[in-house]
């Protein structure tokens, strides 16, 4: 693997609450090469957004570290340097609440340019127009509009333009299309893929939609209750899913053609509720819902094993995982 652009080492984030500690992200490791798209997939409460927020510095990790180009960046944004904040940007899920309704699109896009002293005056207007053109919104029409007068897809494009304003190399996309309709989603995804090629971006793409992941990610990581269950390159991941949770997820996706139906693993009956992250079951956190659980599963937390090059899985079913006890 080439020099990773971003690496998480034992990244952990706990939130103390009155009813106990929420183990939102619990000791996860991953590496991303430049130009990669890592798809982080998980159900609600699995800690995927918390991971993203640690990467952009909304939270500082409880323990563990995040390395960006080999440099530790495990601190909140307040302590990060401006250069770093220029490099790592985020697009949030709901553009309706991430764009200030009282400002025009021009003002929204001017903020990052002003904060980072990138452009001012006439040059700023030119940069904003170029940004809008980049996300395929004609500047003449959109510059002086307010967010509420444009559609959801267009708002998300403005949010993407805002993230790209500082010419970053790494963008976190936190469910950028899950609030949108499929016909709009398709447009945004194409735009994002085009921009990635054009600007050499690396994406950390968070979603719960596996079919979408199949089409955008180069690597896929599955998260369950704060831990990574499986990471693999996309093609391999969908051809040979190993973790029982991955199989359950894949077989639960509603698909629209017979061809896709044949790609899904044999119908693993999904069952059980997702346990609360305050009260994670002992041993492997998935054992209560697992169709192929072993006796050790509720006692010992499995360690991660690399079963093939770049294919990492955390399950007792794969030999080697019993070596480390939790």
């Amino acid at each position: 693997m080439t020099e990773p652009i971003l690496e998480a080492r034992g990244l952990t984030k706990f939130f103390p609450t009155k009813r106990g500690t929420v183990r939102a992200v619990d000791d996860i490791d991953f590496r991303m090469a430049p130009g990669d798209t890592l798809g982080l997939v998980g159900e609600s409460g699995s800690g995927k957004t918390t991971t993203a927020q640690c990467v952009v510095g909304i939270y500082a990790p409880t323990t563990g570290d995040i390395l960006f180009h080999g440099q530790s960046i495990g601190a909140t944004a307040a302590k990060r340097s401006k250069e770093l904040k220029r490099e790592i940007r985020i697009v949030f899920q709901d553009p309706g609440s991430s764009l200030n309704p009282k400002r025009t699109i021009k003002q929204i896009l001017a903020t990052p340019l002003a904060v980072h002293h990138l452009a001012s005056g006439r040059e700023q207007v030119a940069r904003i127009s170029a940004l809008l053109e980049r996300v395929e919104l004609p500047p003449a029409e959109y510059l002086y509009k307010h967010p509420q007068s444009i559609g959801g897809g267009e708002k998300q494009m403005v949010a993407i333009a805002r993230a790209l304003a500082t010419d970053p190399s790494f963008v976190v996309l936190d469910e950028p299309t899950s609030a949108l309709d499929v016909s709009v989603q398709a447009k945004i995804i194409n735009l994002l893929l085009g921009l990635q090629k054009e600007m050499g971006l690396t994406y950390l793409f968070i979603t719960h939609d596996m079919s979408l992941m199949r089409n955008v990610a180069s690597r896929v990581a599955i998260m369950y209750l704060g831990k990574l269950s499986e990471i693999a390159n996309t093609a391999e991941f969908f051809q040979m899913p190993l973790h029982p949770y991955t199989k359950m997820l894949l077989s639960s996706i509603p698909v629209v053609s017979d061809e896709e139906e044949s790609l899904k693993p044999a119908k693993g009956i999904s069952r059980g509720e997702i346990p609360s992250p305050v009260n994670i079951p002992p041993g492997c956190s998935f054992h209560s819902r697992c169709p192929s659980r072993l006796d050790v599963c509720d006692k010992i937390d499995p360690a991660t094993v690399e079963v093939a090059a770049g294919h990492v899985v955390r399950c007792h079913l794969y030999p080697g995982s019993q070596e480390r006890t939790s």
């Binding site: 609600s44 499929v182 016909s183 995804i189 199949r214 089409n215 629209v256 790609l263 999904s270």
Partner: protein, 333 residues
Amino acid sequence: MPNASLLLEIRDLHVGFRIFEGHLRVLAGVTLWVAEGERVGLVGETGCGKTTTVKSVLRVLPIPPAIVTSGEILYRGRDVLRMHRRALHVLRREELTAIFQDPLQSLNPVFTVGSQLRDIVRDSMRTPEGRVLSRREIEARCIQALEETGMPDPERIMSNYPIQLSGGMRQRVCIAEALSTTARLLLADEPTTNLDVTIQDQILRKLDRLVDQKGSSVLMITHSMGVVRDLTQRIYIMYAGSIVETGPTRQLLASPKHPYTQGLMASVPRLTGRGVSEGIPGRIPNYLEPPPGCRFHPRCPHRMPECSVEAPPMSDVGADQRAACYLYRRSPS
């Protein structure tokens, strides 16, 4: 085709909303039917009028601002829109039932699950002799309804408040409420949209089995093509307040004919991983001034001059499959 065993029939329904800016013409001639024991899907994107359609059937649209300008909604041949208040109550009690998208909004937060469920059972169930159920029978029926949805420990759930349950559990309560009665037609408005895929899978399978057991009909409203494919036999594709295409579910999804349906199907990300299409340009029209003629024409790649003059009628495009598009007007019927 309409036949003798029609349960629900909506004929050329026009519904609008009077607001400060003018008249929103939302539904522009919706025509659909559900036969006895049939499962029908109504698919469309945000703002296309799916929920307005369901609400008109249940007659829970707030009038005003809503106005039904024309059209009929026939339930077993009787017009719901002209029904007397008492008759409507009987209809809702004995024939129709609904599941909505957000269970937190359809469950009352200040009553326990049990008390809400008991109310429904007491109001809508009668013994074969027509007697009101006794308290013990009601209790047993409620617990049985919760058990049928796969809920663990139904006695405890009965004494819980909705906020004490997870999203999946709440939706199961709504399903239990909807299916605890003897209703013949289930209107399910995006019942699993807020849920995770593994939970969605469980709920849909449960719903599927329960509906099978009771032999009820279903009108399933959703924007997910995958969900309708698993659960329905026939679908209607809706765009901007009108039905653009209809046909047997799998056949229609495999070979969509209307340009909108084609664009929509191409936009759905597939597991095969062949990339994502360009999407459909433009967006859903403003209902204050909807485009004349076919409401899809400003976004349509096959636009013709007549498209902006008059809305196209339904044409046959395959076995039982019909599309409202001028592209197919000369095809043999």
